[in-house]
Amino acid sequence: MSGESEVKLIENGVRLDGRKPDELRQIKMEIGILKNATGSAYVEWGKNKVMAGVYGPREMHPKRLANPTEATVRVTYNMAPFSVDDRKRPGPDRRSVEISKISSEALSRVVETHLFPNTAIDVFVEILQADAGTRCVGLTAASLALADAGIPMRDLVVACAAGKAGGEVILDLGKEEDNFGEADVPMALSPRTQDVVLLQMDGVLTNEEFERAFDLAWGGCEKVYEMMKQALVSKEVSE
């Protein structure tokens, strides 16, 4: 969110990659792509390539973490070492621990956890190629994988970011916009109940700009939500 950009991030309402301020990147979704997982999904979102796999409900290990009243939804967000320009050291870092935690909380809102006491529902999100907005892509893929696993859910969770770059409030920040822009607002919804299940923000925004970014991200989520429903029916969708 800091640093000076040499190039103009947006000029005459056209962004670096040719998008309009309120336009999403190209998205492709595939359902049921992994054989071993109970459920799985693959999402391409711009240059992001993300896979999610679900195992469970299954016995919770370690056993002391088991909750006798409900299932525990555990998301593990992991970036492949080769997913970014400079190789990332394998294994969890502080960023991925945080993303895993808030993603788990977001999905816990929609999964009917009370049906499977004492169990774990493990969701593994693998970022194979990262190009800004991976937590949103990961959460969207995770939600599709849970649905593919046939786990009872009240709704899908859909995620999308908005933010500010080059002085304008825009939807779905690309890599340069993320690196050199002014602010990023990733958000996730349960659209059926109009619930905000994940929300973060960093950068510099006025209250008015925040409200615009928030509404823009909300609109983006609604578009992606329609794609998700279609993908679950036809097993594949591309837009």
Partner: protein, 257 residues
């Protein structure tokens, strides 16, 4: 699972829902008393502050160290933030490497400070291959809830009272100082907690066990960081209302530093 908290959970949410009351008699938007002691450990640490928020006690120490810059930002200083949930602070805390709770708290506080621009990282450049690295170490001494706000407040209070060590021949001279760290704004985190459909400020630890969702909003004169946590959710109107109120509440807290 603490059985006392578990049993109190229903009591706390139903008291709020049916009577609009909190278990300790506070108003819904009432923050506990805040006490700030600057330079609490002033002999060794370059900066420090102790904050008491109700019975939550936090000590922050700032260490300014000479280091090498990141290759992609050769003329910028750096900062890092850690939160230690020390076992002295609560029976639930254990020794060992940081867990997700402390990592999340540290990262949210870090974002509020970093994104506010209150530290000019260009000014932490010393000479080629030498920069200042500011370490913000947040030590929780007694946990009675709302570590985001108590820790964030203590961190900025400590930064605002940080001396710059004297620099000579590529090293910091310990015990000698040359001026103060310049801080240009005061980011203040305000955490809203949703319990049984009601939103309260500054939840204590008993209330935290009944919290469905929380939203931390860090502001200066602009919005700088936000984080939603918990398995519950907020409506669109609730989010916008929390952000508006964070802008209103922060100046009072800022005035205490």
């Amino acid at each position: 699972m603490n059985i006392e908290y578990y049993l109190k959970r229903d009591y706390i949410s139903s008291l709020l829902e049916t009577e609009g009351k909190r278990h300790d008699g506070r108003q819904l938007d009432q923050i506990r008393d805040i006490e700030i002691t600057k330079e609490y450990v002033g002999d060794k640490a370059d900066g420090s502050a102790y904050v008491k928020l109700g019975d939550t006690e936090v000590l922050v120490g700032i260490s300014m160290m000479v280091g090498t810059p990141y290759p992609d930002r050769p003329t910028s200083g750096t900062m890092s933030t850690s939160v230690e949930l020390r076992p002295i602070a609560h029976p639930r805390f254990e020794s060992g490497p940081p867990r997700e709770e402390s990592i999340e708290t540290a990262r949210v506080i870090d974002r509020g400070i970093r994104e506010s621009g209150c530290i000019d990282f260009a000014k932490l450049f010393i000479e080629e291959d030498k920069i200042w690295m500011a370490s913000i170490d947040i030590h929780i001494l007694n946990n009675d809830g709302n570590l985001f706000d108590a820790g964030g407040l203590a961190a900025i209070a400590a930064l605002a009272n940080t001396r710059m060590p004297k620099y000579e021949d590529g090293e910091a001279i310990r015990g000698e100082w040359a001026g103060n760290l310049e801080i240009t704004s005061t980011p203040i985190p305000v955490t809203f907690s949703k319990i049984g459909g009601k939103i309260v400020l500054d939840a204590d630890i008993v209330e935290e066990n009944a919290v469905d969702a929380r939203l931390t909003v860090a502001t200066t004169d602009t919005l700088n960081a936000m984080q939603k946590g918990g398995k519950g959710a907020f409506s669109s109107d609730e989010v916008k209302e929390c952000v508006r109120r964070a802008f209103e509440i922060a100046p009072t807290i800022r005035g205490l530093i």
